[in-house]
Amino acid sequence: MAGFNFELPNPNTRDPKSDLGPGDYVRRSASSVPAPSRQLTPVAKLIDVSKCIGCKACQAACLEWNDMRDRVAINRGVYDNPQDLTPQMFTLMRFTEWVNPETQNLEWLIRKDGCMHCEDPGCLKACPAPGAIVQYSNGIVDFVHENCIGCGYCVKGCPFNIPRISKVDNKAYKCTLCSDRVAVGQGPACAKACPTHAIVFGTKEEMKKHAEGRIKDLQSRGYKNAGLYDPPGVGGTHVMYVLHHADQPQIYAGLPGNPKISPLVDLWKGATKYVGLAVIGLFAAIGVVHHIVEGPNRVSDEDEANAERLAGGRR
């Protein structure tokens, strides 16, 4: 097994200093940022689906750390609780009962859903509000709520259906990868809480190496399609999965096979935006030029005389 420490050290509570700030932005929605003066080591969270026991400690830890209390949900006869991600629930265990057609075994697939922290973030590209979504040089994609206008464009941009708009303050919410914990040298709360180390956190390189060991182990146990989920369509992600059936990610509660930013979003945020403004500008310019060249179209005295003749001149 790769030699890295599962246990992240406890935080230094005496003088925690944030080492992650606006100077580390590599992307800022609807605006540009100066090139950061330093490049942080890319980080990643690795979720080993095969080690997950579905205890939901990660969900509880997420609520605790972010100080959120979602509404008590309704039991619909399945383990998923709540039914979907909400503005208060950034991460969610999704349970799937799957019959493996090769072995006829019932497999209980449990996937911890949440923001994947795409290298090519669709939410950020769709966002119209300057600075409402940012990406740090360590790969974390974060929502800056004071700049969020609640338009829901991020929802349309996201290939994973992650952001949720709050009905309370009309702002978008999702997993922050515990950017505030990472800023002081900690790992995400969910990773800290996971009793089986199914969730681990470190540099992206470390995580890939760790995944390799896990995949080899799974393959030796008969999961010949075990593999890493780090989808290239979005430039790779800073939340990755080890899947025992990596050839068919869809069986894990609809994890997309080849996620990428929708071509419709590219069209909307690309050609439409620039061609649209150009066409509007062209129409206005044609008007100005036409008026300069042609001059006003005035009614002549003759026109008025003709009208008077037609109308009969009665007062």
């Binding site: 300057p130 700049n147 609640g150 009614v299 109308a311 007062r315």
Partner: protein, 223 residues
């Protein structure tokens, strides 16, 4: 001669110059509510369309307020335009001379009125603006409802919303262009704006640009 061109309130007052009533007070109020809504929609929409115009959200009280108010102005525009549609649709039906007028667009743009057919209350260009606005407003309100997430989020899928947002943007760009044509024509053809402010135009204006309509009004009066 068909009489569909003459609308309620249209009438000729002989004199020097002749004046012609073109729009009633109701029609004018209806028009200006629509116009104000359209301008506010264009400004708030452009603010969310391109980052270079995001500062325009300041006019509405910030990004959150702009996002919240834009769809409501759209609702006002829709119902207001609905009123205009019922006032004007009959006079905007395509007539035989409209094809000829369109074919001679070069003469239109060079103000050679003598080469154009006599037209009724609206010329082919105005009719294109009317029907263009009508269709685009329906497209805009329908696609707009699909992306009005605050109230209608659960009714459509994310993929449907992506289609709607592209259609909404394209239709918005188109309607802004139609609006530029509409406003420019009103400015270029002098004597036009009075029709929507004071409600009347001069006889010479009607003779020059809408002779068939003027003749209809005069013959109606004499009859």
């Amino acid at each position: 001669m068909t009489a569909y061109d003459v609308e309620k309130g249209d009438s000729v007052h002989p004199g020097k110059p002749v004046t012609v009533d073109r729009y009633t007070g109701g029609a004018r109020i209806n028009h200006w509510i629509t116009a104000t809504s359209l301008v506010l929609l264009a400004i708030s929409g452009l603010a969310l369309f391109h980052p270079s115009m995001y500062f325009l959200t300041g006019l509405f009280g910030g990004g959150q307020a702009t996002r919240a108010i834009h769809p409501w102005i759209g609702v006002i525009l829709f119902f207001s335009f609905f009123g205009l549609f019922f006032r004007f649709w009959r006079a905007n039906l395509w007539a035989a001379e409209d094809g000829t007028w369109m074919a001679r667009l070069a003469d239109v743009l060079t103000a050679r009125e003598e080469r154009l057919p006599e037209v009724g209350k609206y010329n082919a260009g105005q009719k294109v603006v009317f029907w263009g606005m009508s269709i685009l407003i329906v497209v805009l309100i329908s696609s707009g409802l699909v992306i009005w997430d605050q109230y209608f989020y659960p009714l459509t899928s994310i993929e449907q919303k992506r289609v709607a947002v592209v259609i909404h943007a394209a239709a918005a760009v188109t309607i802004i262009c139609v609006w530029i044509v509409h406003v420019y024509a009103a400015i270029w053809v002098r004597g036009t704006i009075g029709a929507m402010t004071k409600g009347r135009v001069t006889g010479g204006w009607a003779w020059r640009h809408h002779r068939r309509w003027l003749k209809e009004l005069v013959s109606g009066k004499k009859a």
